[in-house]
Amino acid sequence: MSVSATVHEHDLSELSSQQLLRLERSIAEQFMGGLPWGSIVWAFTNLAVWLSLWPLTLSGVLPLWAAAPIATLNVILSYLPSHEAQHRIIAREGERLFWLNEVVGHLSPVPLGLPYQAARLTHYEHHKHANDLELDPDINTRADSGWHMVVKDIGMQLQTVPKTNIAYANALERLGTEDARRAGATLLAYALVTNALLFGFAWAGYALEVAAIVWLPRIVGGLYIRFFLSWAPHHPALAVGRYRDTRGFRSRLGNILTMGMQYHVIHHLYPRMPLMRHPAAFRALRPILVARGCRLDGI
């Protein structure tokens, strides 16, 4: 008997909120655990491709017009494996493979230029305070429509210190822990080292090459990530609460090109569930999400 059939057999309206939550958890439990090999292979393959662009582009073997789109794809793909590590999905502290969790967490977002600990701590704040105007570090992606988000985001990125970066720094300062201070210092060091590398390569005669591998891809890829990983799943970002702060949606680009974000509602309910199981978990849990009044736009 399928999980979905199990749900349909219940008349959900007769269940109390607690019973519904128990049923939801028992279904979700079936999609938890296991090693997300797909995300691990994804992390290392993506990083290897991006690193290979350096010798290939700097030596002139790969033309800039080919390097730039590949690097942009690498930047776009670099965040989610680290996101799995941020939630300790690969392994928890004290488990045998925790080192692998941390290696993926640190190495995967290198093309994006995002240090792992700062990403992890600010992302936890996002989960804790999703859509809160004051406390959600990702609230700056809130916009009336997709086009509005793109225009607003470009405007923000043209600031010398983008509002999005200030929100992350503020979140770390608000946390005030030793971990948060260290993450803030790493964030600063990352930015300085990245700029120093950029300047060094540029003055050595490789300005166009590093623009194609690092600078432009981070601008374009960053926008893509903020659009599909932040704006789209939280739109309209007006409500807070377990069943209100995230939505399901159907995109014309499909599930792969939106990087699984059509089912992001599942992630906010069960943050330690591996990304690649979200579609199946969503199908199994859908009747409960409907009963809870979740926003499911066309999916």
């Binding site: 043209l158 600031q159 010398t160 210190v161 600063l188 300085l192 700029n195 950029l198 300047f199 540029a202 003055w203 005669g205 300005a207 166009l208 623009a211 600078w215």
Partner: protein
């Protein structure tokens, strides 16, 4: 006692954490980052673009001067206005 070790007072007279020399240097560095980025990255980028776009420019000095002028002034304006455009 070196100045770095002196506790500072805020405008309302309450003591605040002392700011180290490294902290002050970092603040200066970050405040000047748009100008540094203009000279450090935009200038050589413009120079290389001019070298590639205009035949004969590769051997001349002027693309470097033009690159520095564009990168430096763009960075300076960004530093003053807080925006790149």
């Amino acid at each position: 006692m070196p100045r770095d070790d002196v506790a500072h007072l805020s405008s309302d007279g309450a003591p605040t954490a002392p700011v180290s020399l490294i902290g002050r240097l970092l603040t200066l560095l970050l405040q000047g980052m748009p100008l540094i980025f203009g000279i450090g990255f935009i200038a050589p980028l413009m120079t290389q673009l001019l070298d590639r776009a205009l035949p004969g420019a590769a051997q001349a000095e002027w693309p470097l001067v033009a690159g520095l002028a564009i990168g430096g002034s763009w960075g300076a304006v960004a530093n003053l206005t807080g925006r790149w455009l």
